[in-house]
Symmetry: C2
Subunit: 437 residues, 2 copies
C-alpha cells in the first residue's frame, strides 16, 4: 500500500478521487490492513518501539516538508473560508511537531499491554486457564482537522499491536499525507508491514461510509470529532464503534459537604477549561447548604465571567440570574455558562443526574461515608467521583499513560480509553495431554 | 408489568398479538426495564440471592402447572409438525424442573461481581483512581425452544444486577409464561421490581425487530440459537450484540508432539460430543508425524464411526477416504465427520487456521516450548490451547461458575461469558477536595 506516500497536492488528490472506485479502494485498504494485523500480532515490544522511534526520527527529518505541506492546507483552508478556530487546529508549527515527536517517545516508553496473562488458575480437570491480552486486529479511526491526531492514533494502535486505517479531515490532507510518509518510512525501517498504518488518501466522503461497513476487515471504529460525525458513524456503522458523545457532567454538593472543598471543586470543575467534555455543566446543591454556598460561589463565578442560570430556589437565593429551562439541564454548554439547581438530598440529585446527564462524569461533595458509597455504587456514569473535580476524568490523570478518547459506551471500554482499550482478551489453556471426561 | 403473569393459552396469545400495537408494547417493556434496571443497580447481594431462592421455591410449588403448560406447548408442537429433536428440547419433565431449581441455587451461591473495585491506585495529583464493576443495565435475550433458558438467563442477568427482557421461542410460549409467573412471584417476594425480568408475551415476530432497535432502553442483546437467528440479529441490531457464531475448531499436531497425548486429544476433541461448538472439525498434522499418527487415529475414529475426509497427502497415508473439498475446511459439521490435512510445520497450520477457522477454539499438541508460546500468542481465537482438548472451551470448565453463552466477538466479552460479561466497569475517583491544577 503506497497510495499515501507521495506528497499530495490539490490537483492529484482530485485525480485520485476522480479515478478511483471508492469501494475497490477501501476494500484494498481493508485487505491490506487485515494482512498487516496478522503480522502485527506476532511483533515483539522491541520491534514496535523501534518503529515508533524511527517514525519520530523521520518526522524530525521531514520538518520543513511538513510545514510546507501544512502551509498548502492552510492556504486552501483560508480560501475555502475555514474559521479561525478551525485554522488554528489545522496549523502545524515547530512546537506542534515537537509535541508529535515527544508523543512517539512517550508511547514507546509505555508498558506493552500485549501478552499479559491474567488469572491463570488450575482447574479440577488439571488444565490451567487464564486470559491473555491480545491486539484487537484492525482499528478504523475517523477524525477531523488536527493533523497531529494522525501520529497519536497511529502510535497507540501500533503499540497495542493493531493495524489501523486513519481517515482524517479533508482540510488536512496534505499535512496528513506528509505525516503518513514519515510513519511509513518508520515502519519500513523497523521491518514492520507498511500497511500497519494506512491513511485514506481520497477525500471522497463515501470513504467513511465504506470504512464503517467492512466488519470483515475492520474490528472497531473510533470516531473522534464533533457530535454530528459521531452520531452519523454510530447510526450507520456495521462495525462496533467506541464512541464519545456528550459530557453533561454534574457536581452535587451534599448538606454534609465541607463547603471549602465544595467551593474549590465547583469553581475548578467549571472554570479550569470550558471546552472540555469533563467540565461541569450543572451544579446541584442540597437545600440546607444552598444559602451558605451559592452566594459565595456566585462571586467566584463572577470573577471568571461565568453566566449562571438557576432553578426557582437558586434564583430566590441569588436574585437576578436567568431562569434555567428544561433544555438547560440537558445542555453541554462547552462555554462559561452554568446551570444550578437546589435539590432535596442525594435521591433527588441522583434522579436529576440519571434523567438529564449524559453518564460521562459526575461527582459528589460530601463528608458522609454512607452517601459517598451509595453515590459511587448507584450513579451510572463512566466516571463517578467523591470530593474531586470532574476535570480529573482524563487518561493521563488516571495514569493510563495515553488516551485515544473517552468512551461514553458501556461495552468493552468505558471512560478514558488507553492502550488497554485497543486490545481484547482471549482464553489460554495449558494442559499436558488433558482430555474432557 | 403484569402482561406475562396470567397463564396463556393458544387463544389469548393470539388476542394479545392481534390487539396490541407491537411498537407500543415493546416500548412499554423497554421503559419498565430501564426503570427496573436503575433500581437493580442499588440492590444488595443478599436481596438478589433472596429473589433467586424465592424463584426456586415458586418453581417447586408450580411444578404441576409447569408440566401442564408445557403439555399444551408439546401438543401444539406436534400438531404443527415440530420434529423430534425440537420437541425434545421443548419438553419439561420433573428432572428438567429439578435442574432449573438447582441452577437457581447455584447462581445464588456464586460470588456477586458487582461492586468489585480493581486497581485502586494513588495518582501524583493526590486522587485515588480505580475501576468498579457495575451492572450493564438492561439485557435483551433472544432464544429458541428450550424453556429452561428462561430461568437460566433471568437468574444470571439478575445476579449481575441487570434488568432483562426475554424473548423465547413462540413454540414454548405457555411454558415460558408459566415460568415467568414463578420468576415474577420470586421478585415480588424479595421486594425487587417485577419488571427486572420481563418475558415478551406476544408471539409476533416483529417483537424481535423492536427489541434489537431500542438502544435507549436496551444496553446489549444476546441471541442464543441457530446461525440464522444470530445472523439476522447481528445484521439488524441497533443495540450492541454479544454473539456466538460458528465453531470451526482445529487441533494441530506438531512434529514434536507426544503422539499418545496427540491421539487422546484428537479422539476426545472429535468424539466426546459431536453437536457442540467446541468440537474439533479439522485435524492438522505436521508431515513428519503424519505416517505414524494418522493410521492409529483412523482406527480410533473408525471405532466411533467418524467419517474422515482428507487432503491428498492424508489420502496417500490412509488410502480409501473421501477427498476434503475447500468447503470442508470451512465447515462446522456438528456431526461424526472430520476433515484432516497434512501440513508442513506450524506456519502452515496457523495460516490454515486463520484462513478457514472461525476464531473459536484452536489447540496445538507439541512438546516444543517456543512453538507452544508462539501458537498461544499468534492464533487469533477466543480460546487457544496447548496439549488439551478443544472440548474444554466452556464456562464451567473454565471456572466461571455459569455461562450465558460463548462469544465469538472480540469486543467486551470473548469466549465463554459468565456473570462478568453481563457487567461493565466504570472509573471511581476518591479525593478530599482535590482540584485539577
Amino acid at each position: 500500500m503506497s497510495r499515501h506516500v507521495s506528497p499530495v497536492n490539490d490537483d492529484n488528490v482530485k485525480d485520485v478521487a476522480a479515478s478511483t472506485d471508492v469501494v475497490a479502494y477501501m476494500t484494498s485498504l481493508g485487505q491490506a490492513a487485515r494482512a498487516a494485523g496478522a503480522v502485527m500480532r506476532g511483533q515483539s515490544t522491541a520491534g514496535k518501539n523501534a518503529a515508533l522511534l524511527a517514525m519520530a526520527r523521520h518526522l524530525e527529518a521531514a520538518r520543513p516538508g511538513l510545514i510546507e505541506a501544512n502551509a498548502r492546507d492552510l492556504t486552501r483552508g483560508r480560501e475555502t473560508g475555514l474559521d479561525a478556530a478551525l485554522l488554528d487546529r489545522l496549523a502545524l508549527d515547530d512546537q506542534r511537531i515537537d509535541a508529535m515527536i515527544e508523543g512517539l517517545h512517550q508511547v514507546a516508553a509505555l508498558p506493552d499491554p500485549v501478552g499479559e496473562i491474567d488469572g491463570l488458575r488450575s482447574r479440577p480437570s488439571g488444565i490451567q486457564v487464564g486470559q491473555m491480552r491480545v491486539p484487537l486486529g484492525v482499528i478504523g479511526i475517523i477524525y477531523e482537522s488536527r493533523p497531529n491526531v494522525t501520529v497519536e492514533a497511529a502510535s497507540l494502535c501500533l503499540k497495542a499491536g493493531n493495524a489501523c486505517i486513519l481517515r482524517g479531515g479533508s482540510e488536512a490532507r496534505d499535512s496528513n499525507a506528509a505525516i503518513a510518509a514519515c510513519i511509513e518510512a518508520g515502519l519500513r525501517e523497523a521491518g514492520l508491514p507498511a500497511a500497519a498504518v494506512q491513511v485514506v488518501a481520497i477525500t471522497d466522503r463515501a470513504a467513511v461510509g465504506h470504512l464503517i461497513s467492512m466488519p470483515e476487515y475492520v474490528d472497531v471504529i473510533i470516531p473522534r470529532g464533533g457530535k454530528s460525525l459521531i452520531e452519523r458513524v454510530s447510526r450507520e456503522a456495521r462495525v462496533p464503534v467506541i464512541k464519545h458523545l456528550d459530557g453533561v457532567c454534574h457536581v452535587y454538593v451534599d448538606a454534609t459537604a465541607d463547603l471549602d472543598k465544595a467551593f474549590d471543586i465547583a469553581i475548578n470543575a467549571k472554570t479550569h477549561r470550558y471546552g472540555t467534555c469533563n467540565t461541569m455543566e450543572t451544579l446541584l446543591v442540597d437545600a440546607p447548604v444552598a444559602g451558605a454556598l451559592l452566594p459565595r460561589l456566585a462571586s467566584g463565578y463572577a470573577e471568571h465571567g461565568v453566566e449562571l442560570r438557576g432553578c426557582a430556589r437558586t434564583r430566590e437565593i441569588l436574585g437576578a440570574i436567568a431562569a434555567a429551562s428544561e433544555d438547560d439541564w440537558a445542555t453541554e454548554y462547552l462555554a462559561p455558562v452554568l446551570a444550578i439547581r437546589v435539590v432535596d438530598g442525594v435521591e433527588e440529585a441522583m434522579a436529576h443526574i440519571d434523567r438529564y446527564g449524559s453518564h460521562h462524569t459526575d461527582a459528589i461533595v460530601t463528608e458522609n461515608y454512607a452517601l459517598a458509597r451509595r453515590f459511587l455504587a448507584e450513579v451510572d456514569s463512566s466516571s463517578v467521583m467523591v470530593n474531586a473535580s470532574t476535570r480529573f476524568a482524563d487518561g493521563f490523570e488516571y495514569g493510563l499513560g495515553a488516551e485515544i478518547g473517552i468512551s461514553t459506551d458501556k461495552l468493552h471500554a468505558r471512560g478514558p480509553v488507553g492502550l488497554e482499550g485497543l486490545t481484547t482478551r482471549k482464553y489460554v489453556v495449558l494442559g499436558d495431554g488433558h482430555v474432557r471426561g
